[in-house]
């Protein structure tokens, strides 16, 4: 088993490259092999293989007893996953788009997330709730959101969001093995889908065999000394692209890939900001009352003196995601907005 913090630092030489989707499926398949109690359910997870390829090939390999297409009844089938988990199974249940949480949130936050606590620790709910997140392809206000802040605000569930294939595998393995409910949010833009504009890092090296990325550990994907950019999921790649570009202009950015939203790796954030003195949070979720504010608050409640310049955020500015491309790209955390924010920080 490879247990790594930085996904690229595995000791064995990693050559094989996979898309994020394939890496995610590989983790599920390996855990299904390992543990008869792991099974998958959700809309179009069978023959279709998940509309974002999050379950491709599993039906063929494990059959319809362990890969279950469901009716469009999220409350019923997520609730069913909860009941199965309470009885000791380890379901992986897919909510097709995170945007649909509103039809089934009671099962998620009042049941999945609270049963362990309400039972005084006597009942565990070992399950993984997967959902696709993110915009950038004109899918409109009901199919483009990230919403990790919404889940993270409500106690009792862990929340992870991988940015690359190796982490996708490692976090999925960790999530399945965790005795707690884990919400696993995969951005469509990092899955490496053949029918969507691909980030070049959506295909990358993935360790063979067991690979676990611990939940709750951020990853410094680019060390730097001038500005700390805290981000996650697809935005990691935009941040890295901008960091590379700005390096040529003499601005040295540190990019922190949170990977987990809950638990949030406050220590890594604080250590980084202590070194750079400047903080930018890049978040594809809505700006206010969410992740970006929380990251800044964690710094300001430890020591506002760490901040040599006012903290900055690039997020979706409290507006539903517009359909038309020029509008959508005006509100997404694009490389251009990130660049301007970083330059604003270093010139402050």
């Amino acid at each position: 088993m490879t247990l790594t913090d930085a996904s690229a630092s595995s000791s064995a030489p990693v050559q094989r490259k996979l898309s994020t989707a394939k890496a995610m499926v590989e983790a599920i398949a390996q855990e299904m092999e390992r543990d008869e109690d792991v099974f998958v359910l959700g809309e179009d997870v069978g023959a279709y293989g998940g509309i974002f390829s999050s379950t491709t090939g599993l039906l063929e390999r494990f059959g319809p007893r362990r890969v279950l297409d469901t009716p469009i009844s999220e409350t019923a089938f997520i609730g069913a996953a909860i009941g199965a988990a309470v009885e000791g199974m380890r379901p992986i249940v897919e909510l097709m788009f995170v945007d649909f949480f509103g039809v089934c949130m009671d099962q998620i936050y009042n049941h999945m997330a609270k049963i362990h606590f309400e039972s005084g620790g006597n009942v565990t709910v070992p399950m993984v709730l997967t959902a696709a997140v993110g915009g950038g392809y004109s899918d409109g206000a009901q199919h483009s959101q990230c919403l990790w802040g919404t889940f993270a605000h409500l106690p009792g569930m862990k929340v992870v969001a991988p940015s690359n294939p190796a982490d996708a595998k490692g976090l999925m393995t960790a999530a399945i093995r965790d005795d707690n409910p884990v919400v696993y949010l995969f951005h469509k833009g990092v899955m490496g889908l053949p029918w969507m504009a691909k980030n070049r890092r959506s295909v990358g090296p993935v360790p063979d065999g067991d690979h676990v990325v611990p939940i709750g550990k951020a990853n410094i994907v680019r060390p730097g000394s001038d500005v700390t950019v805290v981000t996650l999921s697809l935005s990691v790649h935009h941040a890295l692209d901008v960091a590379e570009e700005l390096a040529r202009q003499g601005v040295d950015c540190e990019v922190v890939d949170l990977r987990s939203v809950v638990p949030l790796d406050t220590d890594t954030i604080l250590e980084s900001v202590a070194r750079t003195g400047r903080l930018l949070v890049v978040d594809e979720d809505y700006l206010s009352f969410g992740l970006s504010g929380e990251v800044i608050a964690r710094v300001a409640e430890r020591d506002p003196g760490l901040l040599r310049a006012p903290a900055a955020r690039v997020a979706v500015p409290d507006v539903p995601i517009p359909y038309a491309r020029p509008l959508e790209y005006a509100v997404l955390p694009t490389p251009d907005r990130i660049r301007r924010a970083i330059l604003g920080l270093v010139n402050a």
Binding site: F39, R65, T70, P71, S73, E74, T75, A76, F77, I78, G79, A80, A81, I82, G83, A84, A85, V86, E87, G88, M89, P91, V103, D106, Q107, N110, H111, I115, H116, F117, E118, S119, G120, G121, N122, V123, T124, P155, G156, K158, D178, D179, N180
Partner: protein, 326 residues
């Protein structure tokens, strides 16, 4: 029915009634002179099930501790009938460390892994997890069943519909129980749906639907027996609706100003009715009535004493049990 089985049902109903009356007493004991919902040894909302004993007794007579029950915000009768440990349950209601949830849950959140019992304060949302328990039971090749309970008000909630459809589709061993006590808080059934029986709705999922009209424990027992047998045989879910009776307010403190049927209520109490029936049939005599009552009282008072002896949770532990540790 065999006399012994009839006695069993009666005994269970008496135990439940005794429990509810005792909780009623304890709940109000230290909320005087002015009722304060948050005060006293048992704080918070309190939904009692007196009058609805036939449903729990009749259904749970067919279950063992391996079967699952998900109950509602009004859970005591089902918890007791399903065999949840009375002491731990009571300690939970008193918010003590020896409670089922170490004081974290309270009366609407009783979780007992030993009997696969749980409940939820959110209307109809106990149905889907029961479907999942049944899925696990089926998957493991057992003949265990899951019983899911709601009120008639809850049958108009989306979760009800989705759960019935899914369980029917996957032929899962579930018995869906609807307790029709005519009221959803202050809203009469007639103001929540124009359908007179949820048995009609069962047809919309392709499953059998039954309605027991008279709150008779033996009728419930018979119908539930069929439904449980069907589930155990792998033939899928059924719906059992029982027209039952809410003897008291929705929760303690509810003055029931809205309740038109209040006057007739005592006369419809199922417990004296069944007692008379068994006395007439010679299954019970006065001595048995007294001794059953005394046994129930002893068990319940012992549970209350246990609860009161159990320590209150230490505030320093308030953050425990959010996450399971590896």
């Amino acid at each position: 029915m065999e006399p012994e089985d009839r006695l069993g049902l009666y005994r269970m109903m008496v135990l439940i009634r005794t429990y509810e009356e005792t909780i009623l007493r304890e709940y109000h004991a230290d909320k005087k002179p002015v009722f304060d919902i948050g005060a006293g040894l048992i704080p918070g909302e309190m939904h009692l099930s007196a009058g609805q004993e036939p449903v729990a007794a009749g259904v749970c007579a067919h279950l063992s501790a391996d079967d699952a029950v998900t109950a509602t915000h009004r859970p005591h009768h089902f918890a007791i009938a399903h065999g949840v440990d009375l002491e731990k349950m009571t300690a939970e209601i008193f918010g003590r460390v020896d409670g089922l949830g170490r004081g974290r849950g309270g009366h609407m959140h009783l979780f007992d892994p030993a009997t696969h019992f749980s409940c939820s304060g959110i209307i109809a949302e106990g149905y889907p997890p029961a479907v999942g328990q049944a899925l696990a039971f089926q998957r493991r090749g057992t003949d265990r069943v899951a019983v899911a309970v709601t009120g008639e008000g809850a049958a108009n909630q989306g979760a009800f519909h989705e759960a019935l459809n899914l369980a029917a589709l996957w032929k899962l061993p579930v018995v869906f129980v609807v307790e029709d006590n005519d009221w959803g808080i202050s809203v009469p059934r007639s103001a929540s749906t124009c359908v007179t029986s949820n048995a009609l709705r069962a047809a919309g999922y392709g499953i059998p639907g039954h309605r027991v009209e008279d709150n008779s424990v033996e009728a419930v027992h018979a119908v539930a027996g069929e439904a449980v047998a069907r589930a155990r045989a792998g033939e899928g879910p059924s719906l059992v609706e029982v027209h039952t009776l809410r003897l008291s307010g929705h929760f303690e403190g509810d003055a029931q100003g809205y309740r038109s049927d209040l006057e007739g209520v005592p006369g419809r109490d199922p417990l004296p009715t069944y007692e008379k029936e068994l006395l007439a049939a010679g299954v019970l005599d006065d001595a048995a009535v007294s001794s059953i009552a005394a046994q129930a009282r002893d068990r319940v008072e012992a549970a209350v004493a246990f609860a009161k002896r159990s320590p209150e949770p230490d505030p320093a532990t308030a953050l425990d049990f959010v996450f399971a540790q590896a």
